[in-house]
């Protein structure tokens, strides 16, 4: 029996307690055993933040848990499965691979959990995929095909590398040989969505921003990283960062949310450096344009009469907070030292795209029931569309229900992957909803000047 304390010395209790080393290193699932073991099944990973709960409709923010229903597909189930895997009590099976990979890793679970707790759910899910690859069972065949494409042609699609800058010629744009801003176009805007690359380039020109391209742009590596192929992703990170440094660019500008997260968060994570230590700034087009508009350097003056809903692309919003390397030790009551500033999704890019859209004359901006950190992912990202197209389509359809619910005519996102997935869902369902990338909307609003 303890003495009746009148005062406890927390620092002493921590100092005298046994310690366990901790790292936020996703190459070892054991780094996240504490996090997995503290999941309390509150399903904050699944539900919309209760404060923002919109009612009987649209209650959840996790596509996977909502689609597959069994707890095992939600983060709460995966934490339990992860422990069993870490302890060697479960062996890899097709079902286990499906549970680990049928998931857009959209971060809804991570920010939902971190509203109340300090658990690293998102990193744990990434570590599970890395373990699948380390154990020789992952990724899935569809992912391996992408990895092969990237290896052979430096792009996601396996298209000829020479076609990467084809979008330039039809847009009649000539980038600068040297500039402070480097526009990293990405695979999607280069090959499948040239309208985004062209719009981005025209917006920059209209704003008087000189930009250059990477002399030999390769894939950012989003998919290989996301499916756990950490070595391949790290090689691409090193290569791409080196290429940027060679150009002397001060800012890497992207128009793709997935690419944004890779450059800003996952490259530093892969290389164990801070985002601030990249040697250049990473910005998404919406950050750049929002600032230009607020500085009066860009004015959307052309009226666009439309009722618009904005979809927060996960990698631009709740997943986009900068990375800071951390390692330390865990002691009494699970406290860690040194202090860890947890990434809770608070400082994602939420307001800039909304402010841009609201600044356009004639645009009637409406929020969907699930917004910002509570958004329901389109389902396309991080290897999902390739391996589980039905999940990706279903997720997009769920989101489109919200678009219809608020009576929007146009759905705008800031990522080509979202745009394509929504466009396919619209086509499949025959909805009268227009799907646009925000770059297209911005360009149209300034077109008279551009």
């Amino acid at each position: 029996m303890a003495e009746r304390q009148t005062k406890i010395d927390v620092k002493k209790l921590f100092a005298e307690s046994p310690k366990t080393p901790v790292k936020l290193d996703i190459t070892d699932l054991n780094n996240f055993v504490y996090d997995m073991s503290r999941c309390i099944k509150c399903k904050g990973c699944t539900w919309v933040d209760h404060i923002y709960m919109p009612g009987a409709q649209f209650r959840t923010r996790c596509p996977t848990a909502t689609r597959y229903l069994f707890d095992s597909y939600g983060a709460n189930g995966k934490m339990r499965i992860g422990i069993a895997l870490a302890e060697g009590k479960l062996k890899w099976t097709d079902k286990l691979l499906e549970i680990v990979y049928a998931d857009p890793l959209c971060g809804a679970c991570d920010v939902g959990c971190k509203r109340n707790l300090d658990l690293e759910i998102g990193l744990t899910l990434e570590a599970l995929r890395v373990k699948a690859v380390q154990d020789g069972v992952g990724p899935l065949p569809a992912h391996k095909k992408i990895a092969q494409n990237i290896k052979k042609t430096h792009n996601f699609f396996g298209s000829p590398h020479n076609n990467r800058t084809k979008w330039l010629s039809s847009a009649k744009i000539t980038p600068a040989k040297k500039a402070d801003v480097l526009y990293f176009v990405g695979c999607s805007a280069s090959y499948s969505n040239p309208e985004i690359a062209q719009a981005t380039a025209k917006i920059l020109k209209a704003a008087g921003t000189d930009f250059m391209l990477m002399p030999d742009e390769w894939c950012c590596g989003n998919t290989v990283f996301s499916v756990g192929m950490i070595d391949e992703a790290r090689d691409l990170a090193r290569r791409n960062i080196d290429e940027v440094k060679k150009t002397g660019a001060k800012t890497v500008l992207v128009s793709c949310a997935e690419g944004y997260r890779m450059w800003k968060v996952d490259y530093p994570k892969l290389l164990n450096i801070a985002t601030d230590d990249l040697g250049f700034k990473v910005v998404h087009l919406v950050e750049y344009v929002d600032e230009l508009i607020k500085q009066g350097k860009l004015k959307p003056s052309k009226s666009m009469n439309m009722r618009v809903a904005y979809h927060d692309s996960c990698s631009l919003s709740r997943l986009s907070e900068p990375w800071t390397p951390w390692e330390g030790e865990r002691g009494w009551m699970g406290m860690v030292e040194p202090r860890l500033a947890r990434r809770r999704g608070t400082n994602g890019i939420y307001f800039q795209p909304r402010d841009i859209l609201k600044s356009i004359p004639g645009v009637e901006f409406v929020e969907m029931p699930r917004t910002r950190e509570n958004s329901f992912c389109c389902g396309a990202g991080r290897g999902t569309k390739e391996a589980f197209p039905d999940l990706a389509l279903w997720s997009a359809q769920q989101r489109l229900e919200e678009v219809k619910y608020v009576g929007a005519e146009t759905l705008v996102s800031a990522c080509p992957w979202c745009k394509n997935n929504f466009a396919q869902a619209v086509k499949a369902d025959g909805n009268a909803i227009e799907v646009l990338d925000i770059s297209e909307v911005i360009l149209a609003s300034i077109a008279s000047k551009g």
């Binding site: 073991s37 904050g44 404060i51 095992s72 189930g77 707790l117 939420y350």
Partner: protein, 533 residues
């Protein structure tokens, strides 16, 4: 032990292949712990297993069919709505079927008569939002906004808002219950017609049987539908604000307002609650543990301990706060009247109003129970007491004494006497005692403390509502009622003669004590030899 292929096929034919699985990975995802409510303890380790199979019905009829198959093939089963309530709501025996009710998540509002019909998979916050859109409200129980409405109303179902709108059994209306043999019982007005608008019906009222005081953890059948009263609130919108984790409801101050008062003593605290109830004002009146405030202020676990480390036994035990929620149910003028009465009461008692934010993070729409785990990683509410206001506070002192004996592994809280509040306009006082620990430490002391609280209550002649399946039935049964255990077991035998519905509940804690060697020092009561093994 698995479920036979033959049985699986029969079950599959009821729900379809997409909604049943006996895959070991799927079943592993339904493990109760190691984290969660009452997890990381001996009970969880010794008494729970992963299910042999998980099935997700979509209707009362499907539930009936599943239960009848279980009876025919002698398959033990457990109903499961969200899984939040920890080990006691998870499978306890090998070969058990987990009936996951999340597909049955309907929320249908009867706008004319102001009640909601909910399925067991529906949680609180969507229901509250629908109610508030109509100017009404329900109580989101302390279990949290993420709790199943049905499960929570069967087990607990109260919060500070119960000061005004009463205990849960008064809000349960027409209900559908699938008995352990698969037969359907319709309670309340549903017994006579397809309208669940009224709680009472012909014949015995089985609502008491369903929930007792704090529920039977799914060992007496499965509620598949329940009508719940919606009470009048006020018309102004409570606007959500902030970005996670700092989200809150902004309060329309002329219609909804929290005020925190500091009063000079525990007696003044009790008196204030009594007088507020007597004056029939306010929507909630409560005293919360000081560490809840530290949880609310802290950005992270470490910051919580920074804040808690600044406290001492004096600051904890002389923390006499009365937190009052004023609601202008009928008008702004009514709330102004309530506030004037409240201020008069507080002036007489020496209470001082402190600056209180015009927002609500917890209780109105989001009972923030998940935050309870931030500081230690493990938590359980070890006792609920519903007595008079003055008796309920005495209970807190006993608890504070007993907690010292088991600290550590319990969190050092200087003997904080817990959460205390008025129920039903002061006609009852409610106390809840919460304990926290780190599950990586030796937790035998927490297991011992849990049962020792029952012995303490017996010794003190104190009432506790955590009886039934929450404590060893043969310890508490002979002392309360007396012999309520014989009644409970007869009821169980009558309704579930094969003991297939969540066995060995309500004897699970008795079995646990027999299995756990470290519990022997406390074991001084008799159990029959035929206790389930």
């Amino acid at each position: 032990m698995s479920i036979s292929k033959e049985t699986y096929k029969v079950l599959e034919s009821i729900v379809g292949a997409e909604y049943i699985s006996d895959d070991p990975v799927v079943c592993e995802g339904y493990r109760t712990g190691p984290g969660g409510y009452e997890c990381g303890l001996g009970y969880e380790r010794l008494m729970t297993v992963i299910p042999a199979c998980v099935i997700m019905p979509n209707s009362t009829e499907e539930v009936q069919k599943i239960v009848k198959v279980c009876c025919r093939y002698k398959i033990p089963y457990v109903p499961y709505s969200t899984g939040f309530y920890g080990p006691r709501s998870h499978p306890h025996v090998e070969g058990e079927l987990l009936i996951d009710l999340k597909r049955m998540d309907e929320i249908e509002i009867d706008d004319k008569h102001w009640f909601a019909v909910v399925g067991p998979g529906a949680i609180y916050s969507p229901l509250q939002e629908e109610a508030m859109k109509r100017g009404g409200y329900v109580v989101i129980g302390g279990g949290g906004a993420q709790a199943s409405v049905v499960a929570n109303l069967l087990g607990d179902g109260w919060s500070p808002l119960s000061h005004r709108i009463c205990l849960p059994h008064r809000r349960i209306l027409g209900t559908e219950l699938v008995l352990p043999d698969g037969e359907l019982v319709r309670l309340g007005s549903l017994a006579q017609q397809d309208d669940p608008f009224w709680g009472e019906g012909p014949g015995p009222d089985l609502r008491g049987l369903l929930r007792g005081y704090t529920g039977l953890r799914g060992c007496l059948g499965i509620v598949t539908k329940m009508a719940v009263k919606i009470l009048p609130f006020q018309p102004e919108r409570l606007e959500p604000s902030g970005i996670s984790p700092h989200t809150t409801l902004l309060l329309p101050e002329k219609r909804v307002k929290w005020i925190n008062f500091v009063v000079p003593s525990k007696e003044a605290q009790v008196k204030a609650m009594f007088e507020i109830g007597k004056a029939e004002i306010a929507g909630a009146v409560t005293k919360v543990p000081l560490f809840w405030r530290a949880i609310a202020k802290a950005e992270c676990k470490e910051e919580f301990w920074d804040l808690w480390g600044q406290e001492n036994s004096d600051t904890i035990n002389k923390f006499f706060i009365v937190r009052v929620l004023l609601i202008g149910f009928t008008s702004e003028e009514q709330m102004q009247y309530d506030e004037r009465v409240l201020m008069d009461i507080m002036t007489e008692l020496g209470g001082e109003a402190r600056r209180t934010r015009p927002s609500d993070e917890s209780w109105i729409k989001n009972a923030d129970s998940a935050g309870m785990w931030v500081m230690c990683g493990s938590y359980v509410s070890v006792d609920y007491v519903i007595e008079t206001l003055s008796q309920a506070t005495e209970h807190g002192e006993f608890y504070a004494d007993l907690k010292w004996k088991y600290t550590p592994p319990l969190m050092p809280d200087y003997g904080d006497p817990g959460w205390f509040q008025s129920f039903e306009l002061g006609h009852q006082g409610y106390s809840e005692f919460l304990v926290y620990w780190d599950q990586d430490q030796n937790t035998d002391g927490v297991d011992l403390f849990y049962v020792d609280t029952a012995k303490m209550n017996i010794k003190q002649g104190a009432y506790t509502s955590l009886l039934g399946p929450h404590q060893p039935l043969y310890l508490t049964g002979p002392k309360y009622g007396p012999n309520y255990h014989t009644w409970l077991l007869r009821v169980k035998d009558e309704f579930d003669p094969q003991w297939l519905c969540h066995p060995p509940v309500p004897l699970a804690h008795d079995v646990f004590v027999e299995r756990a060697k470290w519990m022997k020092p406390l074991k001084d009561w008799e159990v029959p030899k035929d206790l389930p093994k």
